[in-house]
């Protein structure tokens, strides 16, 4: 079942989420419109991928986070520009809270703040191509329509800063939060990073085998070989860490497992992006070459839902609080099945 889903998704992404489509969405949104984003979202809705975490009775596939890893990994491999992973998670959480599911993509923000009687969130990933924002403020989850917010540009082209005035909250839905949205988002971003790390590594390996200098492929030089070996190490550890982050029977991630996943994938993002650009030389630094579609996302996702330092601190506190041998905390992280959520 999982294999069928991921193969179908791979086909969709290979055909419909090409580097050209990613570029088109980014440049159209910068110009204030997004027909390419709407077209890609329609494809996703038609094929049901946004509903995979919903129960079968609710029209989904009943996937747990454990299975979602394979889906999110593929989205990362293809530099998915729309908040599809976010929407999958948001729909599962909303359904669990008994909220009627809205049409359209849902962006996530774990840091919703009170502002002038309304609510504010900054740097919301993918909000420029989403219809809704699911945000956490203290013990509450808010489902807020993007259409009622004052939207201003953020740093990354597809992100936005949003302010919902007090009057806009009338059209919002508020439910108690059953878990931490920050933990959940960090878990799914770990899987996205795992995918983009793989693509960046494989692209760099191919480039090193093709690019000729001094009369031979640069991959024949030992210095380049060792840099690629180090990249492979980071990617292998990060991909394992991301699987750990997603290890859960239901749709609520385990905070300590997520800390491991997000810290290790974020560490790897910096190292792998740096080595990839070093090996590619000037061509990899151009807009025209595809590498930047993925390395920009490595940095973006590293900076989403807590950097490595944030999660290292969380993990360190858990390790000290645990007492006993470090081995037992490690085994809890790698060997235990998370409680059913």
């Amino acid at each position: 079942m999982d294999h069928l889903i991921t193969e179908a998704l791979r086909d969709l992404l290979t055909g419909q989420c090409t580097p050209a489509v990613v570029r088109a969405i980014e440049s159209e949104v910068a110009a204030g419109q997004s027909p390419a984003a709407a077209a890609l979202w329609q494809q996703i809705e038609d094929t049901g991928f946004a509903d995979l975490l919903l129960s079968e009775e609710a029209g989904g596939a009943g996937l747990a986070l454990r299975d979602a890893f394979g889906v999110w990994d593929l989205l990362g491999q293809h530099a998915m520009p729309l908040p599809l992973a976010d929407t999958m998670l948001a729909r599962a959480w909303l359904a669990a809270a008994g909220v009627a599911l809205p049409q359209g993509a849902i962006a996530l923000t774990p840091k919703l703040a009170a502002a002038e009687g309304g609510l504010r969130a900054s740097g919301v990933r993918g909000a420029r191509v989403a219809s809704w924002v699911l945000g956490q403020q203290g013990a509450d989850l808010w489902l807020l329509p993007v259409g009622t917010a004052q939207v201003s540009a953020s740093i990354f082209v597809l992100d936005a800063d949003l302010h919902w005035p007090e009057a806009a909250l009338a059209s919002a839905t508020r439910v108690p939060a059953a878990a931490s949205l920050l933990v959940a988002q960090a878990g799914l971003v770990s899987a996205l990073l795992a995918g983009s790390l793989l693509t960046v590594f494989e692209s760099t390996l191919n480039f090193a085998n093709e690019r000729q200098q001094f009369g031979r492929p640069i991959g024949k030089f030992q210095a380049i070989q060792h840099e690629l070996a180090v990249m492979a190490e980071h990617v292998s550890a990060a991909r394992m860490a991301a699987q750990i982050a997603c290890e859960a029977d239901g749709v609520a991630a385990d905070p300590l497992k997520v800390a491991v996943g997000k810290a290790r994938t974020s560490e790897a993002a910096v190292e792998v992006a740096s080595l990839a650009h070093s090996i590619h030389g000037a061509i990899g630094f151009t807009t025209e070459f595809d590498l930047q579609l993925y390395t920009r996302r490595l940095h973006l996702w590293r900076q989403t839902a807590g950097s490595e330092s944030y999660w290292q601190l969380q993990a360190g506190q858990a390790l000290l609080a645990a007492g006993g041998m470090a081995l037992d905390v490690i085994r809890e992280i790698t060997d235990s099945r998370a409680a059913v959520a």
Binding site: L228, A229, A241, L319, L327, V329
Partner: protein, 385 residues
């Protein structure tokens, strides 16, 4: 499926975990009087009596067939026992190489007589082996070994020299990689593995002191050492293939992750005594944990591939290189953390362990293949060579 997306999160099966509690209860008693800086020697710690005790418990040769004194258990049962031994800093050095490599090699390539003769003694923790690979002019370039065994009427006449042979001064036997046919220019061809009884006339063992003050590796000289015909393990001329097949087993186990874990646990215990540890200390603890846990999961995933009969040589190199980098990072980072404290007395015993690991950790990236050699192997596995 490539190397990098073919390693799935795998759990140790319940039958593998079955012995953990029992082993842990034994170790809590067995090592309680050994100071941490001695336990930190990990698989360099030498104690034949302890090895015999493990043999009596049935925790050596766990995966060997019962016909040769083994216990016919799964590889994961052994993995769990080894993981516990290393995390407690138990002195496993006496039997380590014999049990991990030599007996499995004899079981795989040896004759029935060789299996009967050597393997049960290893499983009892009575017979210790070392591995004769490096020579003064054959380190990373192992195929250039010059030690030669010449066939004669009595078997093989051995002449030459090995170096950096761990524990040779304590072992009864060495399995040596030597030239048995051809010339140096033949490289990997014409090499064979021979079992050398180190008590034979003509063998001289001279320990070398390392920078930590320990004497665990040795020079070994062979001056017309007469070996019997049955000293040969496996086929004449197949030594290189036999040696490389062992390496995936040697490079991905818990011993490539936990060499600094006694210090880590001791440092964590010290932090727990502080009313409010520095945020930098907590972050460092988390940095180590978030690097170590995925590596342990990778090590288990490689073990699973070995159980399935695959030969994950590149995956094992990925684990070993990262594991040793982390094992060396731990003492360096903990030293930085402890020396950043103001007005806090660091326990002397913690400083002893820290000092020992600072001095011994350079060996992590040379034993079992240097960092450069491992990265070259990974590059080969990626198709770059």
């Amino acid at each position: 499926m490539t190397i990098l997306n073919g390693l799935a999160l795998t759990r140790i099966p319940p039958e593998g975990e079955a012995l953990r509690a029992q082993v842990r209860a034994f170790l809590q008693e067995a090592v309680k009087d050994i100071p941490a800086h001695i336990r930190a020697k990990s698989w360099s710690g030498y104690d034949p009596a302890f090895s015999r005790k493990l043999g009596e418990k049935g925790w050596l040769g766990m995966t060997f067939p019962t016909a040769y004194g083994g216990h016919a258990q799964g590889a994961f049962a052994r993995y769990v026992v080894v993981e516990e031994l290393l995390n407690f800093g138990a002195p496993v050095g006496s039997h380590w190489i014999a049990e991990r490599q030599s007996a499995p090699l004899i079981l795989k390539y040896g004759t029935e007589a060789q299996k009967q003769r050597y393997v049960p003694q290893v499983a009892r923790g009575e017979s210790f082996f070392c591995i004769g690979m490096s020579e003064p002019n054959a380190g990373s370039d192992l195929a250039s070994v010059r030690t030669r065994a010449t066939p004669n009427d009595a078997g093989w006449l051995l002449n030459g020299q090995k170096i950096w042979t761990t524990n040779a001064q304590h072992c009864q036997y060495m399995i040596a990689l030597v030239r048995t046919s051809g010339e140096a220019a033949d490289r990997q061809k014409g090499l064979s593995q021979l079992i050398v009884d180190l008590s034979l006339p003509g063998v001289t063992v001279r320990p070398i002191e390392d920078m930590s003050g320990d004497r665990h590796f040795c020079e070994v000289f062979f001056d017309n050492v007469q070996l019997a015909p049955d000293a040969l393990v496996g086929a004449e001329g197949q030594g290189w293939e036999q040696v490389t097949a062992e390496l995936a087993f040697e490079r991905s186990g818990p011993e490539r992750l936990f060499s600094s874990v006694v210090l880590l646990d001791q440092w964590l215990a010290f932090l727990r005594t502080q009313a409010a540890p520095r945020a930098e200390s907590l972050k460092l603890a988390g940095q180590i944990l978030t690097r170590l846990a995925p590596l342990r999961a990778l090590s288990v995933a490689v073990q699973e591939k070995l159980v399935q009969g695959q030969s994950p040589i590149v995956e094992a190199a990925l684990v070993k290189d990262q594991g040793t980098v982390l094992e060396q990072f731990i003492p360096a980072a903990i030293a930085d953390d402890l020396m950043a404290l103001e007005g806090e007395a660091v326990p002397h015993e913690l400083l002893l362990t820290l000092n020992y690991l600072t001095l011994v950790s350079p060996c992590y990236t040379l034993r079992g293949g240097t960092r450069s050699i491992l990265r070259g192997m990974i590059a080969r596995g990626l198709g770059l060579r």
